[in-house]
Point group: C2
Chain length 388, copies 2
């Protein structure tokens, strides 16, 4: 393990009916609220009316910003910052999935900064402790954004998708009611499942030694996802399956399994490059890229992929090398993701090799990316080609 | 799962050399410090001097209270409260194991309360948000007190050992340096290991349905403890083993595996009664009582004990009933605890049946205790008799 600091001050309010906690939680931060949300599903499902009702009960002044994109855009972030400044708002209530939450974090950090908020996303400037406080109502099990300080923002004009992290943009509270995720359609549910598993992978494939507990907790999450997912995708209104998946998503990226380890994240960087250029769903991109990334790293360091196979996919290790086990583990993963309806090739989204160079360039945040096996420009190009 | 709230604002500072974080963390809370510690081992090991050095560097005013007992006593809590009031201190730095930390929490909660602090321990009065802020330097992997709001206090005059919990007494930060646990002798190390496993059990044997992730995380902790413990007890100065055990202890009781489940805790109530009457080590008492508790509940609900056997002790379930598996699981647990040197009978501490009635009475905090299988007065008496 490495030396580490862990501090996660988000209050989770989990379960049926937790929406009514809004009136208890918000007043501590003020009553002038920016209500941030995504598409129309929130209005169709009736959630919008319920949230407005809660806000009215505490006499809140509400300014709305809807239409946050699935890959939230810098232009939207700037709109939010302006609305808060113009209306002197003191709290952001983000209602939606990870994209709305990520957008809220960038807005929160951008308000007290005089320069361009993109500087913060590019990590040139740190978010300050004067960032606007955020509360969230989550409607999708996927990103874990409800209990961390991560935010991924797309600058569409520049084809760039970048992320920042700050303790000052952790949600003060997050409301997780499994029923609010019933309306998520099957394909989005699948993308969320892939995203959750990918978050575990990015931390499981770390570059540190001797972190057995963190790895076992990662395996616990993966096994629970794998057990629940096939039932959930065929029974989207099942409370218990939604409930388990929601908690899986939160614990997969709240810092728990990253304690004391150098995490990887190369596959996320590559996916961000792909979806910055082609605007495909993040979870879909990950389902395509992760098996190819695993193949690539297993050629050098098969042991952790083999461990995944034995401990999560119940492979029998008797008489097999790590290389054989790793190959079987990747096969098991692809089989599982295919079984729930995830894509397997970039061509499933009509992506061909035309933009490989641009995507490779965008993925390379440094000369090398990732830690489990650091990837060069050439490695990334190869992984992308193998994903076509 | 049940509806739940999870909020754990303790900042963990984990790893070699983290003691130097004291000077960064304390000033936010003030510089008039009550330094609370236990026996002389802290002075012998040199830790005392290092802490004083850190406090001097920030120009802190330090008032000391040493000699906190292994089962911390109400009288000591009251001394601490008086010292804070007399000297107008604004921060408690607790250096030691769970008993010192628990004592700090009761002091912290007692200061702003005009009545007798025992009212707070008895849960007649709630700890207030004006409780004195606490920071901790942990020297023993066991109670998890470094990342929760629990405090267990003994009123020796009344033979009562009681506990309270409050969000207002969570440590603001906890420093966990595995090297600071090197000086823990073998027997205390073993008691800590039993305590950690028992904390997982109290939450694993819950009375709720459908909490697969929480159970798997509990199993992850148990497997990691079982893998590490035999190596640790034979190599007490091994950094990596101490490191893993320290993290096991923290995650075993920081609320993670209790999310959304009705936990049990009957065995702890019984052990508190035993050690309130006989002043034996808490971990020793648990090692004796837990197998007998498991036998008792397995007669009614063997399924979770059986699951423990299969998933943690790798029992082969083929052709076996849950009752058979449960019996084998308990046998495996006793074998494991015996192998690392834990006691198995109350008579190992010279305890006979004389005080069974008093202990039974003290354990019964209500007409029934525990949730997985609620225990009556008679059940507790029987478990105690079986433990002699």
């Amino acid at each position: 393990m490495e030396k580490f600091e862990f501090y996660n001050p988000t209050k989770l309010l989990f379960g049926k009916g937790q929406l009514s906690s809004l009136k208890k939680e918000i007043p501590a931060y003020g009553k002038r609220v920016l209500l941030l949300y995504g598409g129309g599903s929130m209005k169709k499902s009736g959630l919008y009316d319920k949230v407005i009702h809660e806000l009215k009960e505490i006499g809140a002044t509400v300014v709305e910003l809807g239409g946050v994109e699935p890959n939230p855009r810098l232009t939207t972030v700037k709109k939010g910052i302006n609305l808060i400044k113009e209306n002197q708002l003191d709290f952001i209530l983000a209602v939606g999935g990870g994209s709305v939450l990520d957008c809220a974090k960038a807005i929160a950090a951008g308000v007290p900064y005089d320069g361009d908020v993109w500087d913060i996303v590019l990590k040139k400037v740190k978010a300050s402790s004067n960032s606007v406080p955020i509360g969230t109502v989550l409607t999708l099990a996927a990103t874990g954004s409800e209990m961390n300080g991560n935010s991924v923002i797309t600058n569409w004009e520049e084809n760039e998708k970048k992320s920042f992290n700050s303790i000052h943009v952790y949600p003060r509270f997050s409301i997780l009611d499994p029923e609010l995720t019933f309306s998520v359609p099957r394909d989005q549910t699948v993308y969320g499942i892939v995203d959750i598993m990918s978050h575990v992978f990015e931390q499981y494939f770390h570059a540190s030694s001797h972190a057995p507990l963190q790895e076992r907790i990662g395996e616990a999450i993966l096994r629970t996802v794998i057990e629940t997912a096939p039932k959930l995708v065929n029974d989207l209104n099942n409370y218990e399956y939604r409930e388990v998946m929601l908690l899986n998503g939160t614990l997969a990226l709240n810092g728990l399994t990253a304690m004391g380890v150098k995490t990887d994240w190369a596959t996320h960087y590559i996916e961000h490059a792909v979806s910055a250029v082609h605007d495909i769903p993040h979870g879909g991109g990950l389902a395509i890229l992760f098996p190819r990334w695993m193949e690539h790293v297993a050629a050098v360091r098969p042991e952790k992929v083999a461990q995944l196979g034995v401990r999560v996919f119940d492979l029998d290790p008797a008489g097999k090398t790590d290389t054989q086990l790793a190959a079987e583990a990747i096969e098991s993963l692809v089989k599982f993701w295919t079984s729930i309806g995830a894509p397997t090739k970039l061509s499933d989204y009509g992506i061909d090799d035309k933009e490989i160079e641009l995507m490779t360039e965008r993925a390379m945040l440094a000369d090398q990316i990732g830690n489990y096996v650091p990837l060069s420009n050439e490695d990334v190009r190869k992984i992308l080609r193998n994903s076509l």
